[in-house]
């Protein structure tokens, strides 16, 4: 076999309306890439038989007894497979509105998404909502598959009709699908093999399409951001630990500590087991600063030129998940990176239906369950945020009440 240099693994969420075939598609991907162990396949066959069903590929991810008996996906799951190009982490998500928090949990970890649409049903409520949520969560690379082509007799006209409708909807949100592929997950058409029954389609198969997705190269700005996670006392020294979100750092470098913008110098960078004078994006490290500086969890280390000061407010696009609505001027907890601060919604510019994207109300007083909104938040003290499009990790936040995540958003 030719020796292929593999690309870095990528995480892809499978999203779309209930019963459009997400879990079946995953089963098919595993089967066609020979990523299934013999004993797991045998187990699926046996359980399908026990439940009086044909071999149900969806059972590979739908592992809960409740999921299998009701033929639904309740919670998100992850599964691994590899092609010759790269390794994949596939994130299955539930299609029912009832389990939308689990869909968001799964999709928040994805770098790309496959939006699946049943060709016989066309665009449905969760098709639109999932596309919107994935895009809001920063998953910009999207491949669309029209599934169940076998049920239409592999008809080109219905594919073209649905493709045009969907493209118009996505365009409205500023999304362009990477590819739109007609498939039958159940029969295996156009997943790993080009199907003669879909001879009129000249584009890539699904696997060819996802193999072409490049890993995210954005977000490699040179500005330094290091949120302090904790402070350890080691051998008489204060070591600030945390993960580098952006930029680089080296011993001897002058830096600013936010939100107060205090200036100091990095004395040393510590990583257990090896000497290092330098740290880059993604690394979990320890830092020792010059002099005795009062630093706490939630402070953010930045380049010394940081203009500051950090503000007491920010504006975000949010999605609300709780039965109890978000209300103007009512106390909430906002968390962003390692920062955690009390605040309120100061202004709700508008709230909208997260599926139709229709604006329900401008200048609203509340945001209700499953609605999206643009909100300005005011915090009790200063908070360091960045636009999501600039530094993701400082541009995303959750809203908590009574220790529960009830909403999430990105800074705009």
């Amino acid at each position: 076999m030719r020796n292929v240099t593999k690309k870095k693994p990528i995480k892809i969420a499978i999203i779309g309306h209930v019963d459009h075939g997400k879990s079946t598609l995953i089963g098919r991907l595993l089967l066609d890439t020979h990523s299934l162990s013999r004993d797991r396949l045998a187990e699926i066959k046996r359980i399908s038989k026990e439940l009086g069903k044909d071999t149900e590929l969806a059972f590979l991810t739908d592992q809960l007894e409740e999921e299998r008996e009701k033929n639904i996906t309740i919670d998100t799951t992850q599964i691994f497979f590899r092609t010759r190009q790269r390794d994949y982490v596939i994130i299955d998500t539930p299609g029912h509105l009832e389990f939308i928090k689990n869909m968001i949990t799964g999709t928040s970890l994805a770098e790309a998404a496959i939006l699946i649409v049943d060709i016989t049903e066309g665009i449905q409520e969760q098709t639109r909502r999932h596309a919107y949520l994935a895009s809001s969560l920063g998953v910009e690379r999207l491949v669309v598959v029209f599934n169940k082509m076998d049920l239409t007799g592999y008809a080109q006209d219905s594919f073209i009709r649905e493709q045009n409708l969907l493209s118009a909807f996505l365009k409205n949100m500023g999304i362009t699908a990477f590819h739109i592929v007609p498939v039958s997950a159940k029969k295996g058409d156009n997943i790993s093999r080009r199907s003669p029954r879909l001879g009129w389609y000249k584009g890539p198969t699904l696997i060819e399409s996802i193999d072409r997705i490049e890993a995210d190269v954005k977000n490699r700005e040179s500005v330094l951001r290091f949120p302090v996670q904790d402070i350890y006392e080691i051998e008489g020294e204060s070591v600030l630990v945390g993960r580098m979100l952006s930029g680089t750092m080296r011993a001897g470098q002058e830096i600013a500590i936010l939100p107060g913008v205090k200036k100091t110098t990095i004395k040393a960078i510590r990583v257990f087991g090896r000497l290092t004078g330098r740290a880059e994006r993604g690394e979990s490290i320890g830092l020792i600063l010059d002099g005795s500086m009062a630093v706490k969890r939630g402070d953010v280390i930045a380049e010394k030129e940081y203009a500051g000061p950090a503000k007491n407010s920010f504006r975000g696009n949010i999605f609300w998940m709780s039965e109890m609505p978000l209300e103007l001027e009512k106390k909430i907890t906002l968390r962003c990176a390692t920062q955690e601060i009390e605040g309120v919604a100061e202004k709700i510019e508008n709230r909208m239906d997260s599926s139709s994207l229709r604006i329900i109300e401008e200048n609203a007083r509340v945001v209700r369950k499953n609605e999206a909104a643009t909100v300005t938040f005011r915090t009790q003290g200063a908070i360091v945020t960045e636009k999501f499009s600039f530094i993701k990790e400082l541009g995303r936040f959750v809203i908590e009440r009574k220790n529960c995540v009830e909403g999430a958003g990105v800074v705009v």
């Binding site: 162990s37 809960l64 799951t77 599964i79 928090k101 630990v241 993604g282 979990s284």
Partner: protein, 267 residues
């Protein structure tokens, strides 16, 4: 740019430090297998060599002899604050795998841990489960709340977005923290190779057999393999058609044994 293994490690370190930052009163569950030994290694790195919290070994008394030797040697070498967790009551009453697997696992592992938790009241336990090991484990969160009687409410898990983990629960509840959830079996072995992490010799083939997953001696079967060193294991895993836990009997007594065990608090 940092490597893929560095990314996996950095994320695990972040989660471990997040757990410690939030609770301080935490412990690591060490089964002495490859995954929890890799986790232990990463915890040592996260705390610059000196782990600031206890390490718990759930001892069913049915573990392999080598596992006990390995535990004693490295807990000394790494200066661990080791807690040995045993359900002495059940052992005295003769609980053993011959009776019934589900009951035995539940009594000697889950119930033993409950006894230790009652004594020590840890707010969080670090566990080395991985999503690719078992479909039920694939449904887990990184920070997973458990009730006082260890119940896992898998029907209604809290949302977990990005790396903003839930970290407050009602007073009597605790968290299961899963810093290795995103690693695969292959990643673990590549990491063990790179870091030169000591690993029990049961994993390496002797006479055409090796253990891929290690639990109690009574309930583990070796798989056919000629992989006698780490390089060969890595090569084997790239093409194998046998699942990792195929030798673990508690996984497949019936289709939902693992789900039932886990909802009762099993690891």
């Amino acid at each position: 740019m940092i490597s893929y293994l560095d990314e996996l490690e950095s994320k695990s370190v972040y989660i471990i430090r997040e757990a410690y930052s939030r609770f301080r009163n935490i412990a690591l569950l060490w089964s002495i297998g490859k995954d929890s030994t890799a986790l232990l290694w990463i915890v040592r790195k996260a705390f610059f060599g000196k782990i600031p919290h206890p390490v718990v070994h759930i001892d069913t008394s049915f573990k392999f002899k080598e596992i006990y030797e390995f535990r004693n040697r490295y807990s000394r070498e790494w200066g661990l604050d080791l807690i040995i967790s045993r359900n002495e009551g059940a052992l005295q009453e003769g609980m053993c795998p011959d009776k019934a697997k589900l009951e035995c696992c539940n009594a000697l592992k889950t119930e033993a841990l409950k006894i230790t938790m009652q004594e020590r009241r840890f707010k969080a336990l670090l566990l080395a489960i991985r999503r690719d090991e078992h479909g039920i484990r694939a449904k887990e969160r990184y920070f997973s709340p458990r009730t006082i009687d260890f119940k896992w409410d898998y029907r209604n898990q809290p949302p977990e977005l990005w790396d903003l983990y839930k970290s407050n629960v009602e007073k009597e509840e605790h968290f299961r923290i899963h810093p290795m959830l995103h690693w695969t079996e292959l990643d673990i072995w590549k990491y063990i190779e790179r870091e030169k992490i000591p690993t029990a010799s049961l994993y390496f083939a002797k006479d055409g057999k090796r253990y891929r997953s290690i639990g109690c001696e009574t309930c583990c079967a070796p798989v056919d393999s000629s992989a006698a060193d780490i390089k060969k294991i890595i090569k084997e895993l790239k093409t194998t058609k046998v699942s990792e836990r195929s030798g673990r009997s508690q996984d497949k007594e019936s289709a939902y044994t693992m789900q039932k065990l886990r909802s009762l608090g099993y690891m």
